[in-house]
Symmetry: C2
Subunit: 207 residues, 2 copies
DNA sequence: ACCTGAACACCGTTCAAGT
DNA sequence: ACCTGAACACCGTTCAAGT
């Protein structure tokens, strides 16, 4: 039998994806902080130096993974949005929030590891921007249809998104039924945030 | 002149505080990720090994600093709360939100470095809990006084706190006048989240 | 053109010795 | 009782050589 090893060459895109996949697995198991380049390369079955042919640094591969995850979640949300009835804007908003929470809960361990330990940048660089933009679009459409009353859709979207996102993180450490209560609470806050106020209610608001 | 160096001994609490202060300065200047134990010890004018007589690890000193900051901010908020008129619960809530945002903006660089780069734990471990508890107290007091309508004060506090906290972070990268708009938007969302709904408004909410 | 892995540099942590 | 700083261990990154 021949002792010469077969070529280890692979098309760059395939190799790159393999490295990302290995990283994803390791990060969702042990978190990003303890992750080692050597763990990645041995999981991906390549030499240590090969890693640096595909990524500039450890930070770089985590950013790439984070972007891939953000894009995945965004696609999820787009699909969910497209499936919702076009005219019931309140229903669209509340359903979207439920789906956003659930998709985030589903990816909890990977998401937490990437967004909250070790290599997180300011939220703006976190891929949250595109998600907030989508929510803002929902709000604007409802406002245009005359169903919502929103002074600044972009800001309200930022607030609602962060309320949801931060609270999920906080609640995730807790028993399962809390998630359902969170969904309801977020939906209620969102509905209150966008609903037209009657003259009577306006008076009650004070200031 | 004597060549013997004078004793370098200091009371433990003083030394510990000096190390924390040096760390604080360095972290708010360069962030936590690039921070080096050697930078800390030379800024605090001690030997490298001395650091480990006071803190178990680099992570440990950052946690201690984070806790000190959280306690500082909490005290700020308590003082602000005590100064507010006791009966106007809507005013207490909106003023509290303004003060919380402003105190957080004031400590922006340190806060970001500690909470968002390198060594952040889940939000629950972040010192946010006591802040959320304070906000929940505000909400409960308003509900007890019959001025607020809140199904789950603890959850609403979590949501509002995260809305505010996340959005500040997001807006901080932007020009100054955005902060004022953020304050108003947070206040508006909070008021809407807690106001009693008229029968008329309830009908509009749907589901 | 793609891959290897030994060598290097840096830094967190330890520990035997000092006042 | 508190402090020192050289030594150690670990791991991210580089680079000369291999197919």
């Amino acid at each position: 039998m021949p002792s010469a090893r077969t070529s280890r060459t692979l098309p760059p895109e395939i190799r790159r994806t393999a490295i990302l996949d290995a990283t994803r697995k390791l990060v969702s198991e042990h978190g990003a902080a303890e992750l080692t380049i050597e763990e990645i390369t041995s999981a991906a079955d390549i030499a240590k130096g090969t890693f640096y042919l595909y990524f500039k640094s450890k930070h770089d591969v985590l950013v790439a993974l984070r972007d891939r995850l953000a894009a995945e979640i965004l696609a999820d949300h787009e699909a969910a949005l497209a499936a919702l009835p076009p005219d019931d804007h309140t229903g669209r908003l509340t359903q979207w929030l439920r789906l956003a929470i659930e998709s985030r809960v589903r990816r909890a361990s990977l998401h937490d590891a990437l967004f909250h330990s070790g290599h997180a940048e300011p939220a703006a660089a976190r891929g949250a921007d595109s998600h907030i933009a989508m929510l803002a679009r929902l709000l604007e459409e409802g406002a245009t249809a005359g169903q919502f009353d929103i002074a600044d859709p972009e800001l309200v979207a930022t607030l609602l998104y962060n309320a949801m996102h931060g609270a999920v993180q906080q609640v995730l450490a807790q028993p399962d039924d809390k998630i359902e209560r969170l969904v309801r609470a977020v939906q209620d806050m969102a509905v209150r945030a966008v609903m037209p106020l009657t003259v009577d209610t306006r008076r009650q608001r004070g200031q």
